[in-house]
Structure formats: structure tokens, C-alpha cells
Amino acid sequence: MTTVSTSAPAATPASTRSVAPLGRLAAAEVRWVLRRPRTLVLLGLLALVPVALGIGIALTGGPGDGDGPGLVAAVAGNGLVLPIAALGLALSLLLPLTVATAAADALAGEAAHGTLRGLLLAPVGRVRLVVMKAAGVLTVAVLAVLVVAVVGVVTGMVVVGGPGGTMITLSGTTLGLGEALGRVALVAGWTIVQLLAVAAVALAVSAFTEHPLVVLAAVLGGLIVFGVLAAVPSLEWLQPLLLTSGWTAGADALRDPLPLDDLASSTGRALVYVVLGAAVTVWRMRRRDG
């Protein structure tokens, strides 16, 4: 704490930032988040997604020709596609629900318990408070995606199996194990960025309310509204603004050669949401008093 200036609450973040305390704060927050039973239950449920998918496909041989939802039909006999299909399925609702829960607990939940007031009174910069809370949500997002991806890879290789540890792309080419795992990692990283966009917006909502349910309702309602807007043909011009309209890009990782356009543009869109959400959160938290 040697470099912390005494005028911490009002000072700009640049003058108060010091590596060790922030890390310590973030570690404390992460520990606090991971000790919540609901976080662990949600992570456990997420782990069941690829397992259930994998077992279902292994037992039934997958859905019939071309009538499977999303990529599920591509998983049959092609286990390494399972993590990508599972991430795509979970991204539609379960993963956003998980990060929204974490974001709702981070600020609105603390406010509901009355504990946010203590944090606001503590000699910790408001920006650092937001950074610390964001670190907790980020951890949940990364863990949730990793759980689905790792369990998906293991389930895919053990339960579904595949042609000798290779992945068959949608283009009909065969990728080796290393490249296949690289594709899974790419989708996982891309999913994390998309989730961070959801998390940033959820944190911003969370900064404005003291009812965690409002955050959950706002995020899930927002996702549904985005889906409806995307389905209205006359609102096609709105598509590039909607976060969810880029969420089909995950399937691009299964094409060969890898088309990066949609993955990159949806990542850029998600980063805009992250910046906006973070800015609103910081702006609101610097003037919040209870």
C-alpha cells in the first residue's frame, strides 16, 4: 500500500493504481464469488450440458439427416465438435444467465444486503471497486466457458468418440487433434468475449439497481428482445447493432479454411458493448451512494 495516495476516493485511477492491492482485492473478490453455492451449482449444471448432449448423441446416433438443431447433427461420430456445439447451445441462454447472476450479485446483490454501502465507504477508489467486481464476474465467465469446453472435449472423445482423434469440419476436411483443439480454444475465447459483453451490460444494470432480479430480468429480457428484433425482416438494418446476431459465427470455426470475418466482426461488436457497459458502470458507481 505504499503508493496509494491519501485522497483515494476522489483521485483519478491513474494516481491510485498499484498492482499488489488491486490483485489482492480481486483475489478476495474471486474467492468470495467462488464460495457462493449458486455459482458452483451453475458451473456444475453447465458441465452437464456437454455430457447430456454427448450421451444423447452416443445413444441415439444423433438426430436424423439435417433435422438436428444447430450443430448437433454434426457431432455424431465426430466427438471433437461436441464442445463447439455445446458452447453454441449454452451461449444462447445458459451462459448469459450464469454471468448475469454473477453480475447481479456483484453490485445489486451487495446493495440488497446492505453490504455495498460498506464497500463504498471503504478507502478504495470507486474505479478499483468496479475493477474488482468485474474481476469476479470475469472469473465466472471464463470458468463457465472452460467448464463447458473441457467437459465437452473429454465427453466428445470418450463418449461420442471420433475418427482417431480427428475432427471432420463442415467443409468435409479432416483436422488433426492439435488443430481441432485449437479450433475449440478459438471458439472458447470468442465465447468468453461475447459473454464479457453480456457481463458488462449486466454490471451496468446492476450498478443502477439494488434488486438482483432486475438484472437477471433485464439481461434475459434483452436477449429475448434482441432475438425478436433480429427476426423482424423490416428491421434488418438493426442487425449489425445486435449483440446476438453475431452469435452464429461460432459455427465458422468448423469450416475449413477458417473464415475469420464473422468471428472478428462479432468480437468487435462485443468489445463495443464491453466498453459501453464498463463506462456506464464506472460512471454510475462513481456517483452512487448506497
Binding site: 476522489a10 439427416d65 439435417g66 438436428g68 438443431p69 444447430g70 450443430l71 447433427a73 454434426a74 461420430g77 465426430n78 475418427p163 482417431g164 471432420i168 463442415l170 467443409s171 468435409g172 476436411t173 479432416t174 449489425p240 447493432l241 452464429t248 459455427a251 465458422d252 469450416r255 479454411p257 473464415p259 470475418d261 466482426s265 468487435g268 461488436r269 468489445l271 463495443v272 466498453v275 459501453l276 463506462a279 456506464v280 464506472v282 460512471w283 462513481r286 456517483r287
Partner: protein, 356 residues
Amino acid sequence: MGRRSWVGAGLGAALVGAVGVGLVVAPAGASAAPPLPPVSPEDLVSSVIRAEPGAFAGEVEVDNALGLPAVPGVPQLANGTSTVRVWSGGEGRGRVALPSPDGERTLVSDGTTRWSYDSRDRTATRAPAGEGRDGPPGEVAQDPTAAATQAVATLRQTSTVAVDGTAEVAGRPVYQLVLTPQPTERTLLREVRVAVDAETRQPLQLTVLAQGSGEPALRVGFSEITYGPQDPSLFTFTPPPGTTVRDAPARDGEQRPDGDRQGTTVGDGWDTVVIGQAPRPGEGGPQDGQDGQEGQDDPQRPEGAPDLSALGTPVSGPWGSGRVITTAVATVIVTDDGRIAAGAVPQQVLTEALAR
């Protein structure tokens, strides 16, 4: 820290958002027409014919506003935008990927064999590379200049052919070759524009404009193109494990039955009307004397051919009766006695042709 700084922060956030969304959303902005040396239509066409198709990789965007009726089983024909990824290795080698949200159809030609792979049902279809691909270049390669002059002269009988300035397509400077029908032509089309790469003389974009609409009815063109040698592994295809491999049936015969091929044409130029027999599988040759007894509910249509009987609106006249299907650029009449008349013309021209 006054209130003003919060306002500033808010404005900054809004600015970041606007700029960010703008960067993400905005496509490559329209740019001014690049200055290029003038070229006559004949020279342009002959250079296009002479140009050797080289290796390239690109993305083709299809912007379809043809107004085709929704044919069950062929959703790609409906209005909308779709993207196709194309690789060419020259010498008849190529790869085309037609992505859909949860699958992909891949066409690969290695020069001797053509493969078609569908990820939905994991089937690969194999066919020998047809001669059709090599035929046209071989014929016209004899004398591109003469061929081009003749082609332009033929077009000039019914259309105005002009090079209408320059533009930029997929980041490449292009000449715009414009075909406009003569005022006497009774056609639904207003003009056809072909954008030709100024350097490689490869056609990059085709735009079809219909009467009475400012928006193109069809625009097919590269949104991205990179010239240069491509990875040869792109042009080979090994069916992955678990794939059903089929040999394609003789497709040429099935797709264009004789009755269709021996159709007659009425008129010339833009208001040409093609009259043929509706395809009937398993019965070679043109069908005569069907007299509507099979009606329009013929269940035996060739595999993959859309059922046209449910489309269109009924019409009748001195020529008989049938159904008319109208789109932005073409009209088709399927008569009850199995004749098909089609052309880029209004309905009246079709009925006149049928009445002959």
C-alpha cells in the same frame, strides 16, 4: 471532480460507442470512381474473353431481390443476401463453399473429378469433371477479338452497349460494361451491368436492374478477392470417415430433359420467349398429345426439381389455360397441357408467343 467531468465521461462513453459501432457496422465505404484509361466496349469484351482465369480466392455476395416465389426445398432462391466462398486454382481446379448457419455445402473440382459434399447428411457425390467447363474457352480462344466484335455486334442489334465509367468492386478498380435494351424491346429488364476488373479483366460483379425499381433485382459479385496462387490442398477432396459416397447419376440428362432442351424460341433479343415442355421423368423425348389429362398434379417430377404446380396464379386465354409465375425480371407460364413459356418479358408477350 465536478459534475462537468461526469458529463464528459458520459459523452466519451457515447462517443466510443458510436465510433465503435460505426467501425463494426460500416462496410468499406463507397469510394470515388478511380481514373482509368478509356476503353471501347469491343476491346473490353475481347479482353475479358482473352483473359486467362487465374488463381484467386474470394467471397461472392449474392443479393437476391428477384422476387422468386418461395419454392419448398430451395430456400436459397428466396430474396435475401447470401455469401459464397470461392477459390480457384486455374486449370479447372476450384472450390466453392456455400455456408448455411449450421452446415455447409462444398463443391470441389480437382480438374478430373468433381465432388459435392453436404455436411447436413454427410454425403459426398462424385462426378467426372464435365467437358462443359473446358468447351467454351476452347471455342472462343481461336480468335477472341473477332468473337468479341461479333458478340458486341449481335448485342448492338437489340441493345445499347457502353462502357459506363469506372467504379470499385471488392477494392479493385473496374470498368462498368452496361447493356441497355433498345426502346423497342418489350422486356422487364432495364439494364444489365457487368463490372470488369481493369487489370485482370475478370468479371467481378453482375447487376441486373428491372423496370420500375431503383434497387437491383440481382447483384452477384465479389465482396473480397485476392489474386495469387492458392494452397493446392484446397482443390483435393478426400471423403472424411463416416461419409456416404455416391456417384452422381448422369446429371446432364436428368437436369435438362430432351423436351426442355428442344424448346423453341419466339422473338429475339431481350424479348425472346422460350417455349418448352415441362420436364417429365422417365419419358424421353418431347411429349405430344398430353392434352392436360395428366394435369398439373403430376407426382412424377424429377428428383430435386421443385414442384411448380402450386405456384403462381391461374390465367387463361385463347392459347389455353395455365398458371403464371411473375418475378421481378422474368415471367413464366406453365400451361395445363405441359408447355412452359418463359422470358424476361411481361405476361402479354408470353401469351402472344403461346398463341402462335
